[in-house]
Symmetry: C2
Subunit: 232 residues, 2 copies
DNA sequence: CGTGCGTTTGAGTGAATTCAACGGCTGTGG
DNA sequence: CCACAGCCGTTGAATTCACTCAAACGCACG
């Protein structure tokens, strides 16, 4: 595909903590470090709201962020979780179509959209970078779409665990920053079904759950099989 | 895969019919008309398959195209329908993640990806155009995601009818090119549920169905209300 | 006039939901 | 140090919505 090294000065910002922040590897990160402001968000704090002007781009430094839509009867659909290193807030129009909230106490970098886009002449590499980002989000959305289509609760949970496994720091146990309710709203299930399904997977020996937000995958193949029914 | 008449020979094809092809208006269209080959696809013909190299871009001229994934147990998820004027086949990687098939006898324009991208020097307007396209697909995927989340059959059908209404020629009746099975696989329902729900909507006077693939919306507000529960 | 396909309709089942109660951790204040 | 409140998560029982299985219908085509 396309990629190139950024044209500028990564040197300054010492990236600090935030597990899994290998952000410095990709080019957009540099722009963020140069131009971005770092802000702290308490758990459940709104980072931007639906229909607000989309003047800024964001990058998760630590913690986690969810983007979601609320329906008038209280149902909520979470469109994505963003983990350290992930970019979010990029929109096709000038307004956000989802709201974004901190899943837990988090830090994000913020940069004006115009600043990023103006960085190089007319449409320098930055446009292409944004394109790649958008492509990546598209792929993510398509995966999520598949997840929400005709799938059983078990298949959804399996897919979720595998996805989080891929994205989190490659360690033994999964540390989930989000509540059961968040997971439910992400997977299109109820909190009870999420809980029951996890318990069932634990009883079957596929996973173990030392504490509710830490999940150890014991039988990865089993999860794969539940999920792999995708794509013959 | 499939065969088409030699690349080249664009001049011959007079744009011909294909309702809703106002393709000439946007810039990418020009490239397609200049460089594309026009091919015919019989109903259910595969245009490209999952995991095939993504060397071409496509534009629907007439008919309709579905992109989908098949699961090993036969379940199918349709990711999108493309109608005349729509672009498809643009991928983040070098391989298609979905397969594409003609919903009904259709015509599509095909152009080599490299040809399109090479059109202007390094990253001329074309990159930006592609970005816009990708953004548009992202928005579409996000909408579809919402559709598949915790929604009742009625809400899904309502959303589907509204979506098709938006996208089809702005006439009175909706002419659906796809089968009930296609609709079901798009909405994450079974064919029976789709049928029942449509019948129910007809009995309630919200729509009427003179023949199975033609639907007249009688009470648009009712459909909106079923759908609008979205986004407070 | 059959044959085949797509669609509709019916009856019974089942997976996930709703409603409701309980259990367990955490932090606060007596 | 313990008691208690407030969450969050789990578990149970009953319900419901969509699914599965099955049959019939209508239409196009040979």
């Amino acid at each position: 595909m396309l990629h190139w090294r950024s044209e500028a000065v990564p040197g300054a910002g010492s990236p600090s903590a935030g597990r899994g922040v290998d952000a410095e590897s990709d080019p957009a990160a540099d722009a963020f470090q140069m131009m971005g402001a770092r802000i702290k968000c308490d758990r459940n704090a709104e980072i931007f709201g639906e229909n607000e002007p989309a003047d800024y781009l964001y990058r998760v430094v630590s913690g986690a962020v969810r983007v979601c839509k609320l329906m008038s009867d209280g149902r909520r659909q979470i469109g994505a979780f963003y983990l350290p290193g992930d970019l979010f807030g990029l929109e096709a129009d000038d307004f956000h179509r989802f709201s974004a909230e901190a899943v837990c106490d988090s830090e994000v970098l913020v940069v004006r959209r115009t600043a990023l886009l103006a960085r190089s002449p007319v449409n320098g590499p930055t446009i292409a970078e944004m394109w790649v980002q958008t492509m990546s989000h598209l792929r993510q959305a398509q995966n999520h779409m598949l997840l929400l289509g005709r799938k059983t609760a078990q298949e959804r949970i399996a897919a979720f665990l595998l996805e989080m496994g891929e994205r989190s720091s490659r360690s033994g146990a999964l540390e989930l920053p989000m509540s059961r309710q968040d997971i439910a709203d992400y997977l299109g299930l109820t909190i009870e079904t999420v809980s029951r399904t996890l318990t069932q997977l634990e009883r079957e020996g596929v996973i173990s759950i030392p504490v509710s937000r830490r999940i150890v995958v014991r039988d990865r193949a089993a999860l794969d099989e539940m999920n792999d029914r995708l794509a013959a």
